[in-house]
Symmetry: C2
Subunit: 349 residues, 2 copies
């Protein structure tokens, strides 16, 4: 696109018309490990035209979540795989540019499945942001991340007063929120598992965790026994693999394991390893349960109201890791698997 055409497009856009092109990141081939330019390709297409009752919206922020990586595999999941040639599926925040619906006003910010692209057609599945909530907090504490932490702890894990709670991926988006909510819900001790001394220091000093274990420092089983001598009442698992196995071994009587994700295996090419210590569930009368946050959509308002109170009173912190540029979305996704982020990864388009 030449400079003249770009300028014309911009001028036209300012008048409420859009003649710009839509950059889309599409799945070119299924990745075998990390995502790169061979697996995710950038292409330019015409900006889509909204139908009756729809709106055209400019994507402003993208929520970068581990689950996106699972949608790239040709494997059964809670949603169908992303098809080859299809835009990478992703939650995001978009600003209404042009509306053919009474529901949406130009300038308004909406949350929805925007995909990794510049423009999206907002249909009725898109929702207005809660009043007074910034776009990045809307994607984090008030979005899938915060809601996953909230319902995973309260509904699946049934966190209760005095519980010893352990969470892996503690410096990540969900983990950092899990630990904070656990404290607010009366947990007796909250221990985070994270990679490296900096992340460990951060969750204790900034987020108020009681302790943190650096799994890269070795002998996780011994460190868990030391940190949780009476066992783990609730383990919130964001990673799977050996960390899940170590926590199962240290489960307290009637301990609960909340399965949120298995990030350690999402990029695995070889045979998957299962948690050999699942037999602890028998001896300790334990329960291991998975969930998908989409099942809780109708209960989000209740949780968001509680979250708003904690946020207003400074009892919970939103930790964000911003990456600039739509074209860097694949790198942003890879950060989750290399552990390069602290807090919620968000792409500012």
């Amino acid at each position: 696109m030449g400079l003249d055409r770009k300028l014309a497009a911009r001028a036209s856009q300012q008048e409420g018309h859009v003649t710009d092109l839509n950059r889309r990141l599409v799945l070119a081939e299924r990745p075998l490990g990390m995502v790169d330019e061979r697996t995710v390709r950038i292409e330019e297409t015409a900006v889509p035209t909204p139908g009756p009752g729809e709106a055209l919206a400019r994507v402003r922020y993208l929520s970068i979540d581990p689950t996106i990586r699972t949608w790239m595999d040709d494997a059964p999941g809670y949603l169908p795989p992303i098809a080859i040639g299809e835009v990478i599926r992703s939650g995001g925040i978009a600003e209404v540019i042009h509306s053919d619906s009474d529901r949406y006003t130009p300038g308004e910010l909406l949350f929805g499945m925007t995909g990794w692209q510049d423009y999206v057609i907002a249909n009725e599945a898109f929702q207005s942001l809660p009043a007074g909530i910034s776009p990045t907090v809307a994607l984090g504490l008030f979005g899938i991340t915060g809601m996953t932490a909230y319902f995973g702890l309260t509904d699946v894990g049934r966190v209760k007063e005095g519980d010893v709670v352990v969470v892996s991926g503690a410096a990540g988006a969900t983990g950092s929120t899990v630990g904070q909510i656990a404290k607010l819900k009366g947990a007796g001790k909250v221990v985070g598992i994270a990679g490296g001394p900096q992340k460990c220091a951060w969750v204790v000093e900034e987020l108020g965790f009681d302790a943190a274990i650096d799994y890269k420092a070795g002998d996780l089983p011994a460190r868990l026994r030391q940190a949780c001598p009476d066992g783990i009442d609730l383990y919130f698992d964001n990673v799977g693999g050996e960390i899940l196995d170590a926590c199962l071994a240290q489960l307290a009587m009637r301990g609960r394991v909340v399965l949120c994700g298995a990030i350690a295996s999402y990029n695995d090419r070889g045979e998957l390893r299962g948690p050999a210590n699942y037999r602890s569930l028998i001896i300790r009368r334990g329960r291991m349960q998975g969930f998908i946050i989409l099942d809780y959509l109708d209960r989000f308002p209740q949780a968001q109201a509680e979250m708003a109170g904690w946020l207003a009173s400074g009892q919970i912190k939103s930790a964000e890791h911003i990456v600039d540029g739509l074209e860097h979305s694949p790198d942003a996704l890879n950060l989750l698997f290399t552990g390069g982020n602290t807090g919620k990864v968000i792409v500012r388009v």
Copy 2:
């Protein structure tokens, strides 16, 4: 012991005195696989003398359960390991010979932890058999086996009308009972997994299962998909290993896995394999939960009353596999791991 002394002992016993010797099977060394004469040694000691409030009882039947094998390992469990030199721990039925307690009358049959031996001191943990129940049924349907099937299905698995129920070790003591109770509780379809065509035919034709899968015939995953095209609502796991993994892969939405035992691994010497498909629990919102039947002791009467009704009306069958002779107890235990039994293994002392 010479013949004269034996005769003298027998005569004395008939008068209510016991001068016989007590054969005890003790743990000589910890087994690394199956149990043999090096790991379990027979020895003869004096018959123990009951103290005030106790009774001396002659062991008549032994309940041979997979869990006995786990107690032989030097590993943490729900009970401490059997110590070297200690009698092999086991449930059984014993007849009161001599009583120093108002609770017990000579000739009465008691259930308790008799151990693998000829004589035992019955203390207050021993209980009288329910009226009209034969000793072998008391060890099977009314004992740990039947209670495990009952509470595993109803309390842990929350079996409900229309459920597709799969049970492994289907021709074993617990499995054969699980399938029958599941039908009585309104399961829509009950599928047993067993080793070999004879066992498969038996659970369908004799016990009324809807279908059976011979796991030795290969491609269990495909056979499970065929037998349970809409998924498994409740999987009652008696074996662990690859069978657990295959059932996890075919779990229905909100499916439940009841972990009763992991017999496939009890004799393992190498590294334990975990169920790689545990990630199904996330996608399918599944729950995997273990239990130990000892937690349900106070609810046994309720379950036994229901069982008595089913037994009286011929709606449930007691399948027993009797092995004669105390000295054959180790072989009887090994049967459970070679799949050599059909129904509950009981040693007639």
